[in-house]
Symmetry: C2
Subunit: 217 residues, 2 copies
């Protein structure tokens, strides 16, 4: 029973810090997306493609979360946007405290849209509020159309879902209709995009939506 | 600091239970593999293909770990082997206590090889000893050749690695040579198989190795 109490305390403490992050984002008028996915679903590739398109239109910044290595921050830095790498050294998710620390290293007055690329893990990151405006869950078409049912919390907490790697659909057993049904069963309000970060297919539907959101915010 | 102490207690408690599971496996002469991977890397498909080939040669059983749904146990049950489904309801990994409970539902005297399919998560399951003989990490070729460096603990704890979905290699940017270098950098003793659970390519190299292991045990 003591374990449960302490887990609750960790989550309560996180809620407080998330609230404080949310106030900062609100004050500074920063729209913040927490990107969740399995390892290798293509979060960084999608982010790179997105940054390319938003360049000159929206002022962006990125917080990169990884268990180990700063490979992703190095990829993002090539796009000349402010980036902070958090290495969790084994930790399976980001939390509001880590984001608070990262915000100290970002030029908050110059950011309209902040992407937080969470640790590659479809389970734990969904439990933690970082103070973000919205959570976005990314699934790749190679992972299977049953995943919303098997990892429901991520799909429940997200407002938006991106189905990535649609260029691989001809080579895998993945029924987009069934995937949509499964995702909407978990979250009837889920906004679903289909794209390929590799070919660029469908990316502009996503970035147009982002631009509209920011410009109307 | 109290959190760290309690985490240590949880892991110590797990170690005790893992030791007790290991004694049971030793007594009953059961070789046990803990299968780790990201969601959608193809653990269940690989297991189904493996069970087909081992049928009539090795007496197998399966413990299925999932955050939600018993879809995987239903797939395994079609192969007429004993199967227990553990649904963690949000829990991000199996632990030795859950395995101990599952063992009560298995005909231990009739099992030579027990597969434990862990929750789809490349981070947390690597931290928990279940009492298994060996951990096997499965990576799909769609996840990227950098993953051993980004999720080192799973590759460090495993004795064997299976690169799955090699049928998709022509369509993705994945350099098998770089993947092998990265995996062996983390764990120079790692035994690596390459296969496709979909086409069956390379599966028999893996099952021949399994059969040799069991027959020589």
């Amino acid at each position: 029973m003591s374990i449960i109490t302490i887990e609750r305390k960790i989550l309560e403490k996180n809620e407080d810090l998330a609230k404080s992050n949310r106030e900062i984002f609100h004050q500074k008028n920063i729209w913040t997306l927490d990107l969740l996915s399995s390892p290798g679903a293509g979060k960084t590739a999608l982010l790179e493609k997105t940054l390319e398109i938003l360049k000159g239109t929206i002022q962006t910044a990125v917080i990169e979360g990884d268990v180990q290595t700063d490979n992703d921050a190095q990829r993002i830095a090539k796009h000349h946007v402010p980036v902070v790498q958090i290495i969790t050294r084994g930790g399976c998710h980001l939390d509001a405290r880590l984001i608070q620390d990262a915000l100290n290293s970002l030029p908050l007055d110059e950011i309209e849209l902040l992407f937080i690329e969470n640790v590659g893990n479809l389970v734990c990151p969904a439990e933690f509020d970082l103070g973000e405006t919205e959570k976005v869950v990314i699934l790749s078409a190679t992972e299977g159309d049953d995943k919303p049912l098997k990892y429901p919390l991520a799909f429940h907490k997200a407002t938006t879902c991106i189905l990535n790697k649609i260029d691989l659909l001809p080579y895998v057993e993945f029924d987009v209709r069934i995937f949509r049904e499964n995702a909407l069963k978990i979250n009837p309000e889920l906004n679903i995009f289909e794209c390929s970060a590799k070919t660029g297919d469908g990316i502009e539907t996503w970035t147009d939506w982002l631009i509209q959101k920011i410009k109307n915010a």
